[in-house]
Symmetry: C2
Subunit: 310 residues, 2 copies
Amino acid sequence: MSDDGSLIAVDWGTTRFRAWLVGGDGAVLDRVDTAAGILGGAGGDFGGTFDRLVGGWLQKQAHLPVVASGMIGSRQGWREAPYVECPAGARDLAGKLVSVISPAGHEVRLVPGVMRTDGDGVPDVMRGEETQIVGCLAEGDAPRRLFVLPGTHSKWAVVEAGRITRFATFMTGELFALLRGHGILGRLMEGDAHDPLTFRRGVDYGSKADGGLLKRLFSVRTLALFDQLPAAGVAAYLSGLLIGREIAEAIAWVGSPHVATARPTIVGSSTLAPRYAEALAQLGIESRTGPEEVVVAGIRRILAAGGLAR
Amino acid sequence: MSDDGSLIAVDWGTTRFRAWLVGGDGAVLDRVDTAAGILGGAGGDFGGTFDRLVGGWLQKQAHLPVVASGMIGSRQGWREAPYVECPAGARDLAGKLVSVISPAGHEVRLVPGVMRTDGDGVPDVMRGEETQIVGCLAEGDAPRRLFVLPGTHSKWAVVEAGRITRFATFMTGELFALLRGHGILGRLMEGDAHDPLTFRRGVDYGSKADGGLLKRLFSVRTLALFDQLPAAGVAAYLSGLLIGREIAEAIAWVGSPHVATARPTIVGSSTLAPRYAEALAQLGIESRTGPEEVVVAGIRRILAAGGLAR
């Protein structure tokens, strides 16, 4: 049958549950997208939630491989799929999948996260992003690629010969949300529409080499105080300042000459990814955007690398 | 009469109203300390609040000079006392006092804040700290002194020949409160007791030259995740990390060789000032602590410089 599935891919994070029924050629045959995240609608009953949301797809084809990535494999999830150390590629992840069985008897394989310890002995982790990165890789890739995954906890990752060799997390999105929602800076803001001019100004000031974030953040307040920033543009300015600062920190972390030549790939939401592309371009760095349905592509590659594809 | 006052000093900030009846020799004869801050109990009726809280002192001596510093002189206060540009010393402040009259007919002089515009064209401001700094100055001072005023918005200020020549604000305290109270890092914390060991570790990691705050902040989460940080020490670690980062930023801002030789003076609360002294000492910088009742001393100096002392 032409619309038989060949696998089910699941992206199960903190706030969302998304699943795709994928055909043999990689085409998406059906999809589910709900608020049943591990801290949301799933309510701790991960097996029951799984059977309820995608059990229908498995009635006809009970033995389809099912792979889930994201926080569902964390300590707070269905079962912990322990972190794999860098370097980590599709084959490394495939070798460390952790299986759980749903109440209806379906096997679900959980993708492990990836960890790395930096020179200071401080660990860094990702969970979910490894699958997205793997989903962006292709035969004939450059030997070294750079990825940017904006979000609450932005990740920058270096991939060499198909494996994530190192990465770093930046708390940009979380800081923006805190300052926007709870701090004195938030009270200066009217709306959070994108405002290219004030965003640009924020990127410029935030990315300057000679000053840290703790000092530069106060400019949000003083520029507003002296009417040098319209209230409708304060949120965009803060967003630009934080993203500019993240890029400056990341450039220092990656090693400056590499960033410009690497043409980093941005994998993010349709609102956030263009902001990062704009900010990178402003700083002279050309970027590209990752493909659509990148989790599906990543899970297909992990299954193929593990010899588990049907 | 030996216990006649010579002036009334008021420190009227966002959350507190503090006032002192001061004798001719500078001794404090009486004091008031209430929650009637400009966003608190004063409820917009600044004149009425003033008369109610210190009117008693003025019954006997109706013409005592009264000077108030802090946010009471801001746009949200009783009347705006516009910012004085750096360089600013006691005489500059005295020349720009703004008078208001209370409902009972008492004149209250409001101390202006101080502002400065950095090389990027971004303004910085202080209001209240200028009076504390002036209160720390003395005849025979070194020609150049450095002040650290920790708080929600920490200030570092350079004083040359008795005038504040430049200063910078760091949003350290606000960021700590936001991350502690609202973010995912706060959920990892059990209590916020001081823990010298994890604080020290935070200072060390936060102050390192080769990495920015957005990346380093994530260490709070990962160290807790890998059981390398006890839950009871997470708050102290975050505090150390932010203070360490502030000091690193401030050293770069002041110009490195100066900080160590300046023996900075810390003016802050009895909980925060020792943390900064500890962190500075850990980074090889000897500091000293400002005098008690520094607002009283500052207001006395401003009155004397303006020829307004009785």
